[in-house]
Symmetry: C2
């Protein structure tokens, strides 16, 4: 579900903010006045009511847990935020801090996968590393990923990320790439493995690993434009 | 290839050792007199000439690299050595020290997988963790594993170990178990996944993870008896 373009309109008597508000799918959302210590506005991650620049911003779920490949979450997430989108980390437990496998980067989980619905998000990012191996034993994570792919919304998957798609049983007949170690698993799942830096097949955008991040991020942003 | 039972016979004029020697397949091998600092005899890992107790000892290759599941190498290896067998660690580079993922246990690699031949060993052990994921991108490791399974010699595989068998393309029609995260990969490889602590199918002995180690080790030792 993509948000509608926003229109800035004044609304007198606004109690939360005296400034302009955004119109999204017929609803008016006031700009938040909450700010963190760094001065940046704080989004309400439990709603879609976050659009500080009133652009065609989208909300991307990043499903991640321990031993994720640091750059495969951090670089796409930074690019998405820089483009005005919102990234919501989805994991096993809300508020949990998970750690990257290469640089030991900490990432706080915003939402537990058991509490989210695909309709809350516009796209899904699946970073690699060993995070997908850990996530694919959780039925709720697998169901979330399956529902996302079936919804037709964009799914951005890199490195070991396709492992989650394999367990979800959604790769039959799809064109996809992934990390070298899981090539046979991808083929055995009924997919066509393509050894390219980025492969687009409908709503599936896939890359092989950290070296492909520039192409992966570029294609991801184009898909969301 | 299993060693023949040894017979202790005296051989006068023996230059290496004055003691009894072992007869194996018609050859006489003197007992080694080399001893390490701990007083234990040192096997020559490049030959099968190591049988200090002249029992039906066998030589087991353990294929392993970084991020192996510590207990899945250490416990079987200790049990094998205690039973009089020899364990030879086979990895990417000879002399390299690799590390476990849970307890950070160091293991020194005895032989590079590119330099070994299946005929040098009686059985193969494939510990799990993320070691199999790392090994399966090396053609020589995959070829070694494939040749081992095809040779009919026992292959002991646990946890993520079947990932190597999947890349080797040797699971079609086999009954096997493995770690929960790779169940779909095992099924997609054409195998029958069996959710039991230990599964024996011909020369393949498999278990699901560390909790199954007692049954895995017991069955392994029975297979080598």
């Amino acid at each position: 579900m993509q948000t509608s373009p926003c229109t800035e309109v004044g609304r007198s008597g606004e109690t939360v903010s005296p400034g302009p508000v955004c119109r999204d799918a017929g609803n008016f959302y006031p700009r938040t006045r909450h700010r963190r210590g760094n001065g940046r506005p704080e989004p309400d991650l439990r709603s879609r009511r976050w659009n500080p620049r009133c652009e065609s911003m989208q909300t991307i779920a990043a499903i991640v847990t321990n031993l994720f490949e640091d750059s495969e979450y951090i670089d796409p997430a930074e690019a998405l935020k820089k483009a005005g989108h919102t990234v919501v980390t989805v994991g096993i437990r809300e508020e949990e801090v998970v750690w990257g496998k290469t640089d030991n980067s900490p990432v706080k989980i915003d939402r537990a996968v058991g509490s989210v619905n695909v309709d809350e998000f516009d796209a899904l990012l699946i970073p690699g590393g060993y995070s997908p191996d850990k996530l694919r034993v959780f039925d709720e994570a697998v169901e979330f990923v399956r529902a996302f792919v079936m919804s037709g919304r964009p799914v951005f998957v890199i490195c070991h990320g396709p492992q989650l798609l394999i367990t979800a049983g959604v790769l039959e007949g799809r064109r996809v790439t992934g990390y070298a170690s899981i090539v046979q698993d991808i083929k055995n799942a009924g997919a066509e493995y393509v050894d390219e830096e980025v492969v687009v097949d409908g709503n599936l955008v896939s890359s092989r690993g950290p070296a492909d991040l520039p192409a992966f991020i570029r294609t991801m942003l184009e898909k969301l434009a």
